[in-house]
C-alpha cells in the first residue's frame, strides 16, 4: 500500500467503508446539566454496536438552556439502527427505561425528519389514564404524572433514512500509551462535530473486528491483521514499529457529518504529532463492495 506522510504521520492510501442507516435524535433536558447528561449517558449505555446492542447511540452535544424547548439545560442524543422497526424498538425502550426514570427529565424531538417515530405516543400509557395531551405551536406534547412531578415528552421525533454508520479511523502508534493519547485527541475533536457520534466507550474501540470466524455461527471475530501480538503469525497489516492499534467508529446523520468527523479526528491526531501520539492512520473497509459510502483518507487531510 502506498502511504502519504503528513507531519511525520503515515496516512494509508485507503478508505473507510460505511453503510446507510436509520437514525433519530432526541433532546433530553433536566433541572441541571448534570442530570440531563446523566439521563443521556444512561440512555446511550450498551449501545456501541448494532451487532450486539440493537442500536448505536451517543451524545451529539450538550445544549445551553437557551437552545432547548423548555429553557433548561439539555443534551442531544443520536440513535442509529439498521431498520426503522429496530430503531423504534430501541428508542421506546431506552426512553422508557432511562429517560422517563431520570429525576426531573423531559424528552423532545431532536430531529425534523421526513418521517417520524413514536416517542410520547408510545410512552403515554404509563400515565394510566392521567396523561395529558397538549398541542400548540405545531408540536404535540404528552404530560405524564410521575413521582417528582410530570414527565413531558414530545409525541413523536423525526427519522432520517440518510444516516451513515461505520465511518472509521485506525490509529496506530509505537506504544499503547501514545496510541491512546492520539485516539483520545481524535475522540475529543469528533465530539465537537455536529450530527455525528462515536458510539464506543469514550469514542474508542480496541477490539476492531473482521467479518466471519473459523467457528460456526460467529459472525464477527478479532481483526488479526491489526493485532500487534499476532504480527509474525498472520498476514499482518502492521509495520514493525506499530505496537498498538485503536479504532474510532463514527455514525452521522448525514454522509457529510461522517466526513467532517473523520476530518476533525485526523486533524487532531496530526496536531498531536508522532512523538506523543500516533505514527500511522489507516481505515477499515471490506474491499468497497459492501458499503455505498467511501471516505478516502487522502481527501480528509488537514
Amino acid at each position: 500500500m502506498r502511504t502519504l506522510t503528513v507531519k511525520g504521520i503515515r496516512i494509508d492510501d485507503t478508505f473507510a467503508e460505511a453503510f446507510g442507516m436509520r437514525a433519530t435524535a432526541v433532546i433530553i433536558t433536566a433541572d441541571t446539566a448534570r442530570w440531563a447528561r446523566q439521563a443521556a449517558i444512561t440512555m446511550t449505555g450498551f449501545a456501541t454496536s448494532v451487532i450486539g446492542c440493537g442500536c448505536e447511540a451517543g451524545i451529539d452535544r450538550p445544549l445551553d438552556a437557551r437552545a432547548t424547548p423548555d429553557g433548561r439545560p439539555g443534551v442531544r442524543v443520536l440513535l442509529f439502527a439498521i431498520s426503522t422497526s429496530e430503531l423504534q424498538k430501541q428508542l421506546s425502550a431506552r426512553v422508557a427505561q432511562c429517560v422517563l426514570t431520570s429525576p426531573g427529565s423531559a424528552c423532545y424531538a431532536g430531529l425534523a425528519g421526513e418521517e417520524s417515530l413514536r416517542l410520547g405516543n408510545a410512552l403515554r400509557y404509563f400515565g394510566d389514564g392521567w396523561q395529558i395531551s397538549k398541542r400548540f405551536g405545531g408540536t404535540h406534547h404528552w404530560r405524564i404524572p410521575v413521582m417528582d412531578g410530570e414527565f413531558v415528552c414530545d409525541a413523536t421525533t423525526g427519522l432520517t433514512k440518510r444516516a451513515v454508520g461505520g465511518g472509521n479511523l485506525l490509529i496506530m502508534g509505537r506504544s499503547a500509551q501514545a496510541t491512546l493519547a492520539a485516539a483520545e485527541a481524535a475522540a475529543r475533536a469528533i465530539e465537537k462535530v455536529a450530527d455525528a457520534i462515536a458510539p464506543f466507550p469514550g469514542g474508542i474501540v480496541r477490539s476492531g473486528s473482521k467479518v466471519g470466524s473459523k467457528y460456526k455461527g460467529v459472525i464477527a471475530s478479532t481483526n488479526d491483521a491489526y493485532s500487534p501480538t499476532l504480527k509474525g503469525a498472520v498476514k499482518t497489516a502492521l509495520d514493525a514499529d506499530i505496537a498498538s492499534v485503536l479504532e474510532i467508529v463514527i455514525d452521522g446523520l448525514t454522509s457529510q457529518a461522517v466526513a467532517d468527523a473523520m476530518r476533525a479526528g485526523i486533524a487532531a491526531i496530526v496536531k498531536l504529532g508522532p512523538k506523543r501520539g500516533a505514527v500511522r492512520i489507516g481505515a477499515g473497509n471490506y474491499g468497497g463492495k459492501l458499503g455505498p459510502h467511501h471516505y478516502h483518507l487522502k481527501d480528509l487531510l488537514p
Binding site: 392521567w130 398541542r135 400548540f136 413531558v152
Partner: protein
C-alpha cells in the same frame, strides 16, 4: 404589497354579514366585482359598494377601517392571509377560521372565534360571551388555533373548547371554560363565578377566582409543561408568560363530570 382597504362610510342601518370578504373569496376579483358582493342580513339589499369605500390592493391582506359593532362574521372562514380591522366588530368574528391572522384593533361581540380550527386572532379591546364557543346545536367549540384578547371577555369563554388556546389578559365573566373538552384557557386577572364549570379535560390558568367545591386541591407546582406554554406565548403576551413561569396551585376537576381537567392559580408564593 398594498392591502385591500375597505372604509365604512357610516354605521349601517342593519347588521351586515362580512363573511364573503376573506382573502380566498376575493382573490382575483376586480374592484367592480367586489363592490357588487351582497352583505345584507335583512331584505334590504346592501352591497360592499353601498357600505364601504374600496381601495384595491392585494386581497391576501384586507383592512377594514372605521368598523363598528354591526359588522358581523368578520374573517369567518379565513384560511390564509391577514385581515386587520380598525374599530369594533359584531358577533362571530373569525368563526370557523382555519388559518391566517385576524387582528381586531377594537372590541368584538359574542361568539368570537366560534368553532375556530386554526390560525390566530388578536383583539386589542374586549370580547363578548362564548369566545371560541359552539353555536346552538354544535357539539364542540374551538378546536385549534390561538386567540388573544387584551381586554376582558364575557361569560362562558372557551365553552366546549376542544383544542387550541385562548388567552385573556384581563378578566373573564362567569363560567369561564364551561364544559371544556380539552385545550387551554388562560385568564391573567380574575374569573367570574364557577370557572371550569363541568369541564371534562383541558387546562385553565387563572390569576384569581373562586372555584366550585367539585375541584380538588393538588398542591403548588412548577411544571415543565407550563414553561413550554410560557415560552410559546412569550412573543404574544409577556405578562401571561410571566404568570405561567411562577409557581402554580393545581386543582383537578370538574369532579361533577369526568374530572380530568385542571385549573391552575397563578401568583402563588
Amino acid at each position: 404589497m398594498t392591502p385591500l382597504v375597505l372604509t365604512l362610510h357610516q354605521r349601517p342601518a342593519q347588521r351586515l354579514d362580512l363573511s364573503p370578504l376573506v382573502p380566498h373569496l376575493l382573490a382575483g376579483k376586480s374592484a367592480m366585482a367586489i363592490a357588487q358582493i351582497e352583505l345584507q342580513t335583512t331584505r334590504m339589499r346592501v352591497t360592499v359598494g353601498d357600505a364601504f369605500r374600496l381601495r384595491m390592493g392585494d386581497a391576501q391582506h384586507i383592512r377594514f377601517e372605521g368598523a363598528c359593532d354591526r359588522l358581523d362574521r368578520v374573517g369567518a372562514g379565513l384560511s390564509a392571509g391577514e385581515i386587520e380591522v380598525a374599530g369594533d366588530v359584531g358577533i362571530q368574528a373569525g368563526r370557523l377560521m382555519t388559518g391566517g391572522r385576524l387582528m381586531i384593533r377594537g372590541s368584538a361581540g359574542h361568539w368570537t372565534a366560534s368553532g375556530m380550527k386554526g390560525g390566530a386572532i388578536e383583539i386589542t379591546g374586549s370580547a363578548g360571551d362564548y369566545v371560541g364557543g359552539p353555536l346552538a346545536g354544535e357539539v364542540a367549540g374551538m378546536r385549534g388555533g390561538l386567540v388573544i384578547v387584551r381586554g376582558n371577555v364575557g361569560a362562558q369563554a372557551a365553552d366546549r373548547l376542544r383544542r387550541g388556546m385562548i388567552i385573556v389578559e384581563g378578566d373573564a365573566g362567569e363560567y369561564a371554560g364551561s364544559r371544556m373538552i380539552a385545550g387551554t384557557l388562560i385568564i391573567r386577572r380574575k374569573a367570574g363565578a364557577l370557572p371550569g364549570y363541568l369541564m371534562k379535560r383541558g387546562t385553565i390558568v387563572l390569576g384569581e377566582g373562586a372555584l366550585s367545591p367539585t375541584f380538588a386541591d393538588c398542591g403548588v407546582h412548577r411544571l415543565v409543561a407550563m414553561r413550554l406554554v410560557a415560552g410559546y406565548l412569550k412573543p404574544y403576551s409577556k405578562p401571561v408568560s410571566a404568570l405561567l413561569r411562577g409557581p402554580l396551585r393545581r386543582f383537578a376537576g370538574d369532579m361533577a363530570v369526568l374530572g380530568n381537567g385542571e385549573i391552575f392559580f397563578g401568583n402563588e408564593s
